[in-house]
Protein backbone atom coordinates (compact mmCIF):
# COMPACT_ATOMS: atom_id res chain seq x y z
CA UNK A 1 0.00 0.00 0.00
CA UNK A 2 1.21 3.42 -0.87
CA UNK A 3 1.79 5.67 2.05
CA UNK A 4 0.55 9.20 1.84
CA UNK A 5 2.70 11.58 3.76
CA UNK A 6 1.51 15.02 4.51
CA UNK A 7 4.29 17.44 5.22
CA UNK A 8 3.34 19.80 8.04
CA UNK A 9 4.95 22.83 6.35
CA UNK A 10 2.55 22.45 3.39
CA UNK A 11 -0.44 22.38 5.70
CA UNK A 12 0.95 25.54 7.27
CA UNK A 13 1.09 27.33 3.94
CA UNK A 14 -2.39 26.09 3.08
CA UNK A 15 -3.77 27.48 6.34
CA UNK A 16 -2.10 30.86 5.81
CA UNK A 17 -3.66 31.08 2.34
CA UNK A 18 -7.06 30.23 3.81
CA UNK A 19 -6.81 32.89 6.50
CA UNK A 20 -5.48 35.52 4.17
CA UNK A 21 -8.17 34.52 1.67
CA UNK A 22 -10.98 34.95 4.18
CA UNK A 23 -9.58 38.24 5.37
CA UNK A 24 -9.34 39.46 1.81
CA UNK A 25 -12.91 38.59 0.94
CA UNK A 26 -14.08 40.26 4.14
CA UNK A 27 -12.37 43.49 3.15
CA UNK A 28 -13.93 43.17 -0.28
CA UNK A 29 -17.40 42.64 1.14
CA UNK A 30 -17.07 45.82 3.17
CA UNK A 31 -16.14 47.79 0.08
CA UNK A 32 -18.63 45.93 -2.02
CA UNK A 33 -21.22 47.72 -4.04
CA UNK A 34 -24.88 47.66 -3.26
CA UNK A 35 -26.61 44.57 -4.58
CA UNK A 36 -30.09 44.81 -6.04
CA UNK A 37 -31.81 41.46 -6.23
CA UNK A 38 -34.33 41.03 -9.02
CA UNK A 39 -36.36 38.23 -10.51
CA UNK A 40 -37.57 37.75 -14.06
CA UNK A 41 -40.49 35.56 -15.04
CA UNK A 42 -43.25 35.53 -17.66
CA UNK A 43 -43.98 38.46 -18.13
CA UNK A 44 -42.56 40.67 -15.44
CA UNK A 45 -39.52 41.81 -13.57
CA UNK A 46 -39.66 42.26 -9.83
CA UNK A 47 -38.99 44.97 -8.91
CA UNK A 48 -39.76 46.55 -12.26
CA UNK A 49 -38.70 50.02 -11.21
CA UNK A 50 -35.29 50.63 -9.71
CA UNK A 51 -33.62 53.86 -8.70
CA UNK A 52 -29.87 54.36 -8.88
CA UNK A 53 -27.47 57.19 -8.19
CA UNK A 54 -25.34 58.63 -10.93
CA UNK A 55 -21.76 57.42 -10.70
CA UNK A 56 -22.46 54.96 -7.87
CA UNK A 57 -21.80 51.37 -8.90
CA UNK A 58 -24.37 48.70 -8.08
CA UNK A 59 -24.67 45.02 -8.89
CA UNK A 60 -27.94 43.74 -10.30
CA UNK A 61 -28.49 40.12 -9.31
CA UNK A 62 -31.26 38.84 -11.51
CA UNK A 63 -32.71 35.35 -11.31
CA UNK A 64 -34.77 34.03 -14.21
CA UNK A 65 -37.35 31.86 -12.47
CA UNK A 66 -39.22 30.06 -15.23
CA UNK A 67 -37.27 30.18 -18.51
CA UNK A 68 -34.73 32.14 -20.51
CA UNK A 69 -35.34 35.88 -20.49
CA UNK A 70 -33.35 38.91 -21.56
CA UNK A 71 -32.44 42.15 -19.84
CA UNK A 72 -31.75 45.02 -22.16
CA UNK A 73 -31.43 48.70 -21.28
CA UNK A 74 -29.98 50.27 -24.46
CA UNK A 75 -29.60 53.78 -22.98
CA UNK A 76 -27.37 52.55 -20.16
CA UNK A 77 -25.78 49.85 -22.33
CA UNK A 78 -26.84 47.01 -20.07
CA UNK A 79 -27.46 43.79 -21.93
CA UNK A 80 -27.60 40.26 -20.59
CA UNK A 81 -29.24 36.92 -21.25
CA UNK A 82 -30.81 35.57 -18.07
CA UNK A 83 -30.44 31.81 -17.97
CA UNK A 84 -33.19 29.90 -16.19
CA UNK A 85 -32.48 29.14 -12.54
CA UNK A 86 -29.17 31.01 -12.59
CA UNK A 87 -28.28 34.28 -10.91
CA UNK A 88 -27.00 36.75 -13.50
CA UNK A 89 -24.82 39.47 -12.01
CA UNK A 90 -24.50 42.72 -13.88
CA UNK A 91 -22.36 45.56 -12.56
CA UNK A 92 -23.79 48.95 -13.44
CA UNK A 93 -22.26 52.37 -13.11
CA UNK A 94 -24.90 54.83 -14.33
CA UNK A 95 -23.21 57.65 -16.20
CA UNK A 96 -26.23 59.87 -16.80
CA UNK A 97 -29.43 60.87 -15.05
CA UNK A 98 -32.88 60.21 -16.38
CA UNK A 99 -35.52 57.53 -16.69
CA UNK A 100 -34.40 54.64 -18.87
CA UNK A 101 -36.58 51.78 -20.02
CA UNK A 102 -35.41 48.18 -20.02
CA UNK A 103 -37.12 45.21 -21.55
CA UNK A 104 -36.88 41.50 -22.16
CA UNK A 105 -35.32 41.07 -25.59
CA UNK A 106 -35.69 37.31 -25.84
CA UNK A 107 -39.17 36.37 -27.05
CA UNK A 108 -40.68 34.43 -24.14
CA UNK A 109 -44.37 33.99 -24.90
CA UNK A 110 -47.69 35.71 -25.39
CA UNK A 111 -47.13 38.74 -23.19
CA UNK A 112 -43.41 39.12 -23.87
CA UNK A 113 -43.94 42.62 -25.23
CA UNK A 114 -45.23 43.77 -21.81
CA UNK A 115 -42.11 42.57 -19.99
CA UNK A 116 -40.62 45.99 -19.32
CA UNK A 117 -39.31 48.16 -16.50
CA UNK A 118 -37.45 51.37 -15.80
CA UNK A 119 -34.20 52.45 -14.23
CA UNK A 120 -34.32 55.94 -12.77
CA UNK A 121 -30.91 57.50 -12.29
CA UNK A 122 -30.75 60.47 -9.89
CA UNK A 123 -28.00 62.98 -9.26
Amino acid sequence: MKKITIRPEIIGIFLIVLVVGTGYSKVCAEQQEQVIKMTAKKFEYSPKEITLKKGVPVVLEITALDRLHGFFCPDLQIHADLLQGKVTRIRVVPVKTGVFAFHCDIVCGDGHEDMVGTITVKE
Partner: protein, 298 residues
Protein backbone atom coordinates in the same frame (compact mmCIF):
# COMPACT_ATOMS: atom_id res chain seq x y z
CA UNK B 1 -27.63 60.03 -47.81
CA UNK B 2 -26.88 63.69 -47.29
CA UNK B 3 -29.18 66.18 -45.60
CA UNK B 4 -30.53 67.59 -48.83
CA UNK B 5 -31.45 64.14 -50.12
CA UNK B 6 -33.05 63.33 -46.82
CA UNK B 7 -35.25 66.42 -46.86
CA UNK B 8 -36.32 65.81 -50.44
CA UNK B 9 -36.99 62.25 -49.58
CA UNK B 10 -39.14 63.14 -46.57
CA UNK B 11 -41.11 65.54 -48.72
CA UNK B 12 -41.73 62.79 -51.23
CA UNK B 13 -42.61 60.22 -48.60
CA UNK B 14 -45.00 62.70 -47.00
CA UNK B 15 -46.94 62.91 -50.23
CA UNK B 16 -47.92 59.31 -49.65
CA UNK B 17 -47.86 58.44 -53.30
CA UNK B 18 -45.21 56.77 -55.33
CA UNK B 19 -41.67 56.93 -54.02
CA UNK B 20 -38.74 56.09 -56.19
CA UNK B 21 -35.56 54.67 -54.74
CA UNK B 22 -32.63 53.96 -56.93
CA UNK B 23 -30.33 51.15 -56.02
CA UNK B 24 -27.62 53.74 -55.52
CA UNK B 25 -29.50 55.22 -52.61
CA UNK B 26 -30.51 58.39 -54.39
CA UNK B 27 -34.00 59.43 -55.18
CA UNK B 28 -35.33 59.53 -58.65
CA UNK B 29 -38.00 61.94 -59.79
CA UNK B 30 -41.37 60.32 -59.35
CA UNK B 31 -42.62 61.78 -62.59
CA UNK B 32 -42.20 59.59 -65.60
CA UNK B 33 -43.03 56.21 -64.08
CA UNK B 34 -42.93 53.92 -67.06
CA UNK B 35 -42.96 50.18 -67.40
CA UNK B 36 -40.07 48.91 -69.47
CA UNK B 37 -40.07 45.38 -70.81
CA UNK B 38 -37.95 43.98 -67.96
CA UNK B 39 -39.93 45.65 -65.19
CA UNK B 40 -41.97 43.54 -62.88
CA UNK B 41 -44.18 44.11 -59.87
CA UNK B 42 -44.38 42.28 -56.61
CA UNK B 43 -46.53 42.97 -53.59
CA UNK B 44 -45.36 43.07 -49.98
CA UNK B 45 -47.77 42.31 -47.16
CA UNK B 46 -46.60 42.11 -43.59
CA UNK B 47 -47.64 41.49 -40.01
CA UNK B 48 -51.07 40.04 -40.67
CA UNK B 49 -51.11 38.54 -37.14
CA UNK B 50 -53.81 36.00 -37.91
CA UNK B 51 -55.38 34.90 -34.61
CA UNK B 52 -55.02 38.26 -32.92
CA UNK B 53 -57.97 39.37 -30.79
CA UNK B 54 -58.52 42.86 -29.38
CA UNK B 55 -61.53 44.96 -30.28
CA UNK B 56 -59.95 48.29 -29.31
CA UNK B 57 -57.13 47.71 -31.77
CA UNK B 58 -59.00 46.00 -34.57
CA UNK B 59 -62.68 45.05 -34.21
CA UNK B 60 -62.39 43.32 -37.60
CA UNK B 61 -59.39 41.17 -36.67
CA UNK B 62 -61.11 38.12 -38.15
CA UNK B 63 -61.80 39.86 -41.44
CA UNK B 64 -58.92 42.21 -42.22
CA UNK B 65 -56.63 39.62 -43.79
CA UNK B 66 -59.43 38.57 -46.13
CA UNK B 67 -59.96 42.23 -47.05
CA UNK B 68 -56.25 42.61 -47.79
CA UNK B 69 -56.40 39.52 -50.01
CA UNK B 70 -59.39 41.01 -51.86
CA UNK B 71 -57.58 44.35 -52.21
CA UNK B 72 -54.54 42.66 -53.76
CA UNK B 73 -56.80 40.62 -56.03
CA UNK B 74 -58.43 43.85 -57.21
CA UNK B 75 -55.17 45.40 -58.46
CA UNK B 76 -55.46 45.98 -62.19
CA UNK B 77 -51.88 44.93 -62.71
CA UNK B 78 -51.54 41.63 -60.90
CA UNK B 79 -48.04 41.24 -59.42
CA UNK B 80 -45.62 38.53 -60.53
CA UNK B 81 -45.50 37.31 -56.95
CA UNK B 82 -46.45 38.26 -53.41
CA UNK B 83 -44.26 38.28 -50.31
CA UNK B 84 -45.32 38.25 -46.68
CA UNK B 85 -42.55 39.54 -44.44
CA UNK B 86 -43.43 37.75 -41.21
CA UNK B 87 -45.81 37.76 -38.25
CA UNK B 88 -48.23 35.86 -40.43
CA UNK B 89 -49.89 34.69 -37.22
CA UNK B 90 -50.19 36.20 -33.76
CA UNK B 91 -48.16 34.46 -31.12
CA UNK B 92 -49.61 31.83 -28.81
CA UNK B 93 -47.99 29.68 -26.13
CA UNK B 94 -50.06 26.69 -27.30
CA UNK B 95 -48.26 24.70 -30.06
CA UNK B 96 -51.56 23.26 -31.34
CA UNK B 97 -53.16 26.70 -31.56
CA UNK B 98 -50.05 27.97 -33.37
CA UNK B 99 -50.51 25.26 -36.00
CA UNK B 100 -54.22 26.01 -36.27
CA UNK B 101 -53.45 29.68 -36.96
CA UNK B 102 -50.78 28.82 -39.54
CA UNK B 103 -53.23 26.45 -41.26
CA UNK B 104 -55.99 29.08 -41.34
CA UNK B 105 -53.57 31.69 -42.63
CA UNK B 106 -52.53 29.32 -45.41
CA UNK B 107 -56.19 28.72 -46.33
CA UNK B 108 -57.01 32.42 -46.47
CA UNK B 109 -54.05 33.40 -48.64
CA UNK B 110 -54.86 30.55 -51.02
CA UNK B 111 -57.62 32.93 -52.19
CA UNK B 112 -54.98 35.20 -53.73
CA UNK B 113 -55.21 35.17 -57.51
CA UNK B 114 -51.43 35.13 -57.76
CA UNK B 115 -50.15 31.72 -56.75
CA UNK B 116 -46.46 32.56 -56.55
CA UNK B 117 -46.22 33.44 -52.85
CA UNK B 118 -43.05 33.81 -50.80
CA UNK B 119 -43.21 33.74 -47.03
CA UNK B 120 -40.89 34.34 -44.13
CA UNK B 121 -41.69 34.09 -40.43
CA UNK B 122 -41.82 36.81 -37.78
CA UNK B 123 -41.07 36.36 -34.11
CA UNK B 124 -44.78 35.76 -33.49
CA UNK B 125 -44.67 32.73 -35.81
CA UNK B 126 -41.30 31.27 -34.98
CA UNK B 127 -39.58 32.52 -31.85
CA UNK B 128 -41.24 30.20 -29.33
CA UNK B 129 -40.34 26.95 -31.12
CA UNK B 130 -37.35 28.03 -33.24
CA UNK B 131 -39.52 27.96 -36.33
CA UNK B 132 -40.62 24.30 -35.98
CA UNK B 133 -44.35 24.78 -36.63
CA UNK B 134 -43.71 27.37 -39.34
CA UNK B 135 -41.43 24.95 -41.20
CA UNK B 136 -44.09 22.22 -41.12
CA UNK B 137 -46.35 24.47 -43.15
CA UNK B 138 -44.06 26.65 -45.22
CA UNK B 139 -40.60 25.07 -45.34
CA UNK B 140 -37.28 26.84 -44.99
CA UNK B 141 -37.10 30.20 -43.27
CA UNK B 142 -34.14 31.50 -45.26
CA UNK B 143 -33.68 30.89 -48.96
CA UNK B 144 -33.03 32.58 -52.26
CA UNK B 145 -34.87 32.84 -55.53
CA UNK B 146 -34.29 34.65 -58.77
CA UNK B 147 -36.88 36.56 -60.67
CA UNK B 148 -36.15 38.09 -64.06
CA UNK B 149 -32.52 38.62 -63.18
CA UNK B 150 -33.10 40.05 -59.69
CA UNK B 151 -31.66 38.06 -56.76
CA UNK B 152 -34.03 37.73 -53.82
CA UNK B 153 -32.58 36.65 -50.49
CA UNK B 154 -34.68 36.00 -47.41
CA UNK B 155 -33.06 36.31 -44.01
CA UNK B 156 -34.45 34.76 -40.84
CA UNK B 157 -33.85 36.94 -37.77
CA UNK B 158 -36.68 35.49 -35.68
CA UNK B 159 -36.25 31.72 -35.27
CA UNK B 160 -33.64 32.56 -32.66
CA UNK B 161 -35.76 34.15 -29.91
CA UNK B 162 -32.87 36.54 -29.23
CA UNK B 163 -33.61 38.14 -32.60
CA UNK B 164 -30.35 37.29 -34.26
CA UNK B 165 -29.39 35.84 -37.63
CA UNK B 166 -26.74 33.53 -36.22
CA UNK B 167 -23.34 32.31 -37.40
CA UNK B 168 -24.64 29.47 -39.59
CA UNK B 169 -26.94 31.72 -41.58
CA UNK B 170 -24.26 34.40 -41.88
CA UNK B 171 -21.92 31.80 -43.41
CA UNK B 172 -24.72 30.74 -45.75
CA UNK B 173 -25.34 34.37 -46.71
CA UNK B 174 -21.64 34.96 -47.34
CA UNK B 175 -21.47 31.89 -49.59
CA UNK B 176 -24.64 32.93 -51.41
CA UNK B 177 -23.33 36.42 -52.05
CA UNK B 178 -20.00 35.11 -53.36
CA UNK B 179 -21.86 33.78 -56.39
CA UNK B 180 -23.52 37.11 -57.16
CA UNK B 181 -22.08 39.87 -59.30
CA UNK B 182 -21.36 43.11 -57.41
CA UNK B 183 -23.44 45.01 -59.96
CA UNK B 184 -26.44 42.71 -59.80
CA UNK B 185 -29.73 43.83 -58.31
CA UNK B 186 -30.42 42.24 -54.93
CA UNK B 187 -33.61 42.40 -52.88
CA UNK B 188 -33.42 41.26 -49.26
CA UNK B 189 -36.58 40.22 -47.42
CA UNK B 190 -36.52 39.94 -43.65
CA UNK B 191 -38.74 40.55 -40.63
CA UNK B 192 -36.89 42.69 -38.11
CA UNK B 193 -34.90 45.78 -39.10
CA UNK B 194 -31.29 44.85 -39.87
CA UNK B 195 -30.12 48.13 -38.35
CA UNK B 196 -30.67 49.67 -34.90
CA UNK B 197 -33.92 51.46 -35.66
CA UNK B 198 -35.00 51.67 -32.02
CA UNK B 199 -33.48 48.99 -29.79
CA UNK B 200 -35.48 50.32 -26.82
CA UNK B 201 -38.50 48.74 -28.49
CA UNK B 202 -36.65 45.73 -29.80
CA UNK B 203 -36.60 47.23 -33.28
CA UNK B 204 -33.22 45.83 -34.19
CA UNK B 205 -31.41 42.59 -35.03
CA UNK B 206 -28.57 41.66 -32.69
CA UNK B 207 -26.17 40.80 -35.49
CA UNK B 208 -27.89 42.79 -38.24
CA UNK B 209 -24.73 44.87 -38.72
CA UNK B 210 -22.96 41.71 -39.91
CA UNK B 211 -25.62 41.21 -42.59
CA UNK B 212 -25.30 44.82 -43.72
CA UNK B 213 -21.50 44.49 -43.85
CA UNK B 214 -21.85 41.47 -46.14
CA UNK B 215 -24.24 43.42 -48.38
CA UNK B 216 -22.17 46.60 -48.54
CA UNK B 217 -19.95 45.62 -51.52
CA UNK B 218 -23.07 45.22 -53.68
CA UNK B 219 -24.15 48.32 -55.53
CA UNK B 220 -27.86 47.67 -55.89
CA UNK B 221 -29.37 46.25 -52.73
CA UNK B 222 -32.80 47.02 -51.31
CA UNK B 223 -34.15 45.60 -48.04
CA UNK B 224 -37.85 45.11 -47.34
CA UNK B 225 -38.96 44.18 -43.85
CA UNK B 226 -41.90 44.28 -41.41
CA UNK B 227 -42.13 44.06 -37.62
CA UNK B 228 -42.71 47.76 -36.92
CA UNK B 229 -46.24 47.95 -38.41
CA UNK B 230 -45.70 51.19 -40.32
CA UNK B 231 -44.06 52.55 -43.39
CA UNK B 232 -40.48 53.53 -42.66
CA UNK B 233 -37.53 54.26 -44.92
CA UNK B 234 -33.93 54.37 -43.83
CA UNK B 235 -30.50 54.13 -45.41
CA UNK B 236 -27.44 52.32 -44.12
CA UNK B 237 -24.84 53.77 -46.47
CA UNK B 238 -26.23 53.26 -49.96
CA UNK B 239 -28.68 50.52 -48.92
CA UNK B 240 -32.32 51.51 -48.44
CA UNK B 241 -34.44 49.63 -45.87
CA UNK B 242 -38.21 49.87 -46.26
CA UNK B 243 -40.59 48.73 -43.51
CA UNK B 244 -44.14 47.85 -44.54
CA UNK B 245 -47.46 48.55 -42.91
CA UNK B 246 -49.27 45.82 -41.05
CA UNK B 247 -52.74 44.55 -41.83
CA UNK B 248 -53.83 44.18 -38.21
CA UNK B 249 -52.87 47.28 -36.17
CA UNK B 250 -50.39 50.14 -36.57
CA UNK B 251 -47.60 50.88 -34.10
CA UNK B 252 -46.39 54.39 -33.17
CA UNK B 253 -43.35 55.97 -34.82
CA UNK B 254 -40.08 54.86 -33.20
CA UNK B 255 -39.61 56.58 -29.83
CA UNK B 256 -42.56 58.94 -30.41
CA UNK B 257 -44.32 57.81 -27.24
CA UNK B 258 -43.14 56.30 -23.96
CA UNK B 259 -44.58 52.84 -24.58
CA UNK B 260 -44.56 50.71 -27.70
CA UNK B 261 -48.33 50.26 -27.49
CA UNK B 262 -50.36 49.70 -30.67
CA UNK B 263 -52.37 52.64 -31.96
CA UNK B 264 -56.07 52.11 -31.10
CA UNK B 265 -58.68 51.66 -33.81
CA UNK B 266 -60.20 54.94 -34.96
CA UNK B 267 -63.93 54.40 -35.61
CA UNK B 268 -64.01 57.58 -37.70
CA UNK B 269 -61.24 56.19 -39.93
CA UNK B 270 -61.44 52.39 -39.89
CA UNK B 271 -58.36 50.47 -41.12
CA UNK B 272 -56.31 53.66 -40.91
CA UNK B 273 -52.59 52.96 -40.91
CA UNK B 274 -53.02 49.48 -42.35
CA UNK B 275 -51.95 48.57 -45.83
CA UNK B 276 -49.64 46.82 -48.24
CA UNK B 277 -47.29 47.99 -50.93
CA UNK B 278 -46.54 47.28 -54.51
CA UNK B 279 -42.94 47.29 -55.64
CA UNK B 280 -42.07 47.98 -59.22
CA UNK B 281 -38.67 46.43 -59.75
CA UNK B 282 -36.79 47.99 -62.63
CA UNK B 283 -33.71 45.94 -63.47
CA UNK B 284 -32.68 48.41 -66.20
CA UNK B 285 -32.50 51.29 -63.73
CA UNK B 286 -31.42 49.05 -60.85
CA UNK B 287 -34.10 50.50 -58.65
CA UNK B 288 -37.46 49.92 -57.01
CA UNK B 289 -40.55 52.09 -57.13
CA UNK B 290 -42.82 51.81 -54.12
CA UNK B 291 -46.56 52.40 -54.11
CA UNK B 292 -48.51 52.20 -50.86
CA UNK B 293 -52.09 50.90 -50.78
CA UNK B 294 -54.72 50.80 -48.04
CA UNK B 295 -55.73 47.38 -46.78
CA UNK B 296 -59.28 47.80 -48.08
CA UNK B 297 -60.27 48.42 -51.66
CA UNK B 298 -60.66 52.09 -52.54
Amino acid sequence: MNEMDRRDFLKLAGMGGVVFFSGLGTLVDAIGKSAAADDFFFVQLSDTHWGFEGAQLNPDAKGTLQKAVAAVNSLTNQPDFIVFTGDLTHTTDDPQERRKRLREFKDIISQLKVKNIRLIPGEHDASLDNGAAYKEFFGETHYTFNHKGVHFITIDNVSDPRGSVGEAQLVWLGDTLKKIDKNAQIVVLTHRPLFDLYPQWDWATRDGDKVVTLLMPFKHVTVFYGHIHQEHNHFTGHIPHHAAKSSIYPLPAPGSVAKRAPIPWDPTAPYKGLGFREIDTRPKQNDCVLTEYPVTKV
